[in-house]
């Protein structure tokens, strides 16, 4: 069934379609409607779940951790300052190996007080052990929530996923979303039934004191899980395509086959970039775009495979790691270590500044006229 939905509705319907058992969330602009819709769906009896009201985001994640630990499938959503407040609990969820799925509406960090798009909030959670996906459109939000439960719940993965959607450019933008049918979704996503869980009949301790004798090995196992997730994501994406007809992967290459210039991007900028690529192609310029979906696990091989056939690469970041450069630029550069292909680092759209087709074309123009550099501010009023 197709409907016209905002990104926030798509996220709430994604959690509903995944038949989550527990929702615990705290409202924050621009995520608020996700929580509102889910509380209505639960109250109307359309989803057999417990909605746990809490007094903060830290508590929301704590409630999800507790519920997931007893074997419930849980969902939450937040944004910016809310995600920052959760930070401690994010480590607990990941290292506790609890495959929680959370929608994060990417919003700039204050001050200046901002409710607009910027990915600093989620990038700042990079090392918590969560998988992280960046969505281009509302359909991808819905689909990614379903796929994330499936990937995360594999025994050789058991990791939570942060599903990111740009503030307003997705959260408050209406688009056509196919919600599929319940039977096909249920066949794709079986019930969650973890082997190790909190159970009064079989008591265990969780998260106890871990000496240097063992902590090191738990970290090793976390890394193995992230690596396993890479192949599980590919596997689940392939199954998803077979059942629902939509193709996903760790990355998405658009007209890169014979491209001399490849633009690397993520989130909604990736959609606009596709239209920009078409426009530049019409003028005879050999340009392609590479969308990175997963920041973690980072698709090193896949990124290199596409970029190694390019003559030049430009990365567009909607955040900056102060004192260094754009965060995705760092990742892409590290992945391409040893390659002689010149690479530029661009910043655009921070704090919700609109990124137009003209802005993306200006990136390519800049690369034609200048030597590579790590920080180029598109449209900054210097």
């Amino acid at each position: 069934m197709k409907k016209v939905l905002t990104g926030n509705f798509a996220a709430a319907y994604g959690a509903t379609a995944a038949k989550v058992d527990v929702v615990s969330a705290y409202p924050i602009t621009p995520q608020t409607t996700i929580v509102e819709i889910l509380s209505e769906i639960v109250a109307d009896g359309l989803l057999d779940a417990d909605f746990i009201k809490v007094e903060s985001e830290h508590s929301a994640m704590a409630a999800c951790i507790g519920a997931q630990a007893v074997g419930a499938r849980t969902f939450t959503a937040t944004s910016a300052q809310g995600l920052a407040l959760m930070h401690e609990m994010l480590h607990w969820a990941a290292r506790g190996r609890l495959p929680i799925v959370m929608a994060n509406v990417n919003r700039a960090m204050a001050p200046g007080w901002s409710i607009w798009a910027d990915v600093t909030d989620s990038v700042a959670q990079r090392d918590t052990g969560w998988m992280q996906v960046y969505c281009e459109n509302n359909q991808e939000v819905f689909d990614t929530i379903l796929m994330s439960y499936k990937v995360g719940e594999y025994e050789d993965v058991l990791l939570p996923t942060l599903v990111n959607l740009d503030a307003f450019f997705l959260s408050h933008t209406s688009q056509v979303v196919d919600l599929y049918d319940e039977k096909t979704i249920d066949a794709f996503l079986p019930e969650y039934n973890p082997k190790i869980k909190l159970d009064v009949k079989d008591p265990r301790s969780f998260g106890a004191l871990t000496s240097p004798e063992h902590y090191y090995e738990f970290s090793y196992k976390m890394q193995i899980a992230q690596e396993n997730a890479r192949s599980r994501i590919k596997e689940v994406s392939a199954e998803f395509e077979k059942r629902f007809g939509r193709k996903y992967d760790l990355i998405e290459a658009y007209r890169c086959e014979d491209a001399e210039t490849v633009l690397v991007d993520y989130g909604t900028i990736a959609g606009t970039a596709k239209d920009a690529v078409d426009r530049m192609r019409d003028r005879g310029e050999r340009v392609g775009a590479l969308k990175i979906r997963y920041l973690r696990p980072f698709p090193v091989k896949e990124v290199c495979r596409i970029l190694n056939s390019a003559r030049q690469v430009g990365v567009i970041d909607r955040a900056i790691s102060f004192g260094h450069e754009g965060p995705f630029f760092t990742e892409v550069k590290a992945a391409m270590y040893g390659s002689q292909i010149p690479i530029w680092g661009f910043l655009a759209g921070l704090g919700g500044r609109d990124v137009s087709i003209a802005d993306i074309e200006s990136v390519v123009t800049h690369m034609k006229q200048n030597e590579p550099s790590n920080i180029i501010w598109i449209g900054v009023k210097k």
Partner: protein, 184 residues
């Protein structure tokens, strides 16, 4: 792809109008996108909203800089805000006003086709909003359907009834009336 930009003031319902137009086009099998300019909402402040309608998937996610159609819910915005910037040559402008189309000239726009209709009176006749602040968003959509042929008036009326929680019939009839009374 057809791009429509709505200009109104806070409280007139420009954002809802962009959404309803998208719904109506979707019902006719089109791909759609609708979103507001993400400002801080305040009654009376200028508001911009956007609708994209296409046969193909819509991938672009930025504001509309080169619209095919402009919908002006409040004529006091003319001159106060740069409305016609980027309007495509031969683009259409639909204005809620009591005055005829010939009264309006837009120096920057290239050969625009201007349409006018008195949505405020029609909205009031159907008891939408108050005399000081008539809610004209549903009314003007009938005029948009007539001027652009993008969607049928029936689809507009159905989408209005689906999206507006109260006074469904009155809102739909207001749209029908502007459809019939559009000048231009």
């Amino acid at each position: 792809m057809i791009e429509i930009r709505f200009h109104g003031r806070g409280g007139q319902g420009a954002v809802k109008a962009s959404d309803i137009l998208a719904m109506a086009a979707f019902a006719e099998g089109k791909m759609v996108q609708a979103f507001p300019f993400f400002g801080v909402e305040r009654r009376g402040a200028p508001v911009t909203a956007f609708t994209r309608i296409s046969e193909d998937e819509i991938r672009i996610h930025c504001y509309i800089y080169e619209p095919d159609v402009l919908v002006i819910l409040d004529p006091t915005l003319i001159g106060a805000v740069p409305l016609t910037d980027g309007l495509k040559p031969g683009g259409k402008i639909i204005i809620n006003t009591t005055r005829p189309p010939a009264d309006f000239t837009f120096p920057k726009a290239d050969d625009p086709k201007v349409f006018t209709v008195d949505c405020s009176s029609i909205a009031l006749k159907h008891r939408l909003g108050s005399k000081e602040a008539p809610i004209v968003n549903t009314a003007i959509l009938g005029a948009v359907a007539k001027a652009t042929n993008l969607v049928s008036i029936n689809s507009i009326m159905e989408a209005v009834k689906e999206k507006i929680p109260v006074n469904k019939e009155e809102n739909a009839l207001a749209a029908k009336e502007t459809y019939q009374k559009l000048q231009g």
